[in-house]
């Protein structure tokens, strides 16, 4: 347990925005990888094409999983932020 509990709601918002941006960049990079593998699959034949196509599909699934996880993280962070603000208001009302 930390000695101080320090909550800055603006920083929480900033972190969420930054994570959203990073997720967008991640998806762009992943899309570029997928495109490269799809192009390889079109150029090659036989098992190489099958392997490249499979890698592209796996990257797609992996990207979706990461996006889902980040989405859950953001959702919980927003929820925690809102709960913190509500509780802070209740607590300070005792001393008003």
């Amino acid at each position: 347990m930390a000695e101080f509990l320090q909550y800055d709601f603006n920083k929480m918002d900033l972190v969420n925005t930054t994570i959203q941006q990073r997720l967008g960049e991640f998806r762009n990079h992943l899309e570029a990888y997928k495109k490269a593998y799809v192009e390889m699959a079109q150029v090659w034949g036989g098992e190489a094409a099958s392997g490249a196509g499979q890698v592209a599909q796996e990257l797609d699934k992996f990207g979706n999983s990461v996006a889902d996880t980040v989405g859950v993280f953001q959702q919980r962070m927003v929820q925690h932020r809102e709960e913190s603000i509500a509780m802070e208001k209740r607590n300070t009302s005792f001393f008003a």
């Binding site: 099958s50 859950v72 993280f73 603000i85």
Partner: protein, 192 residues
Amino acid sequence: MDSGAAGSFRVHLQSLRDFAQKLREQLEVVQRSTRSAAVLNRPPDLPLGAFAEAYALSDDHSDAVRQSEVLLAKVARSLDFARSVTELVAQRYEALNAAGARSIGAVGAALPAAPNPLLPTVQPAPVYQPVPQPPVTVRPVTGSATPPAGSLAPPEIIARFTVPVPPDGGTVYYYNGSTTVPVRVTVEAQDS
């Protein structure tokens, strides 16, 4: 506990718990005072006398003691309220922080493993096996040099030496130590 305009708070939980403990101690002191006041409410040991002023003084004394008891009870309730609120606030902050940490921390457990696609099994590249060839044997040969066509000099054997077999269509050069001269070589089998 700080609450800034930007929307933040900073809580030192141990300070809140220490404060609640001090309130608890003060409450005990006030409760002891209340018990002391109850003693005062008993009839005085020394009778003031059977006259009007004595009765009035005794009544005033009893009123003052009762009011003190009421006041001390209010103080005790206030202290107890402050103590319970302080403990509640500390518990709420602690529970909020712990619940948030659990909720957000549990997201990491849902992270997917890195993809491990089942790529087709890579077949080992075929090993190149060279076709065995019979060993090449270089037999020493002898030859005689003849001047080029058109030469005025008659054919003359100027030297006999052993040279490797020239390739088909190849040219053999004779080097006399200073210049290189192409010469025609007639190859004759040694065993003839």
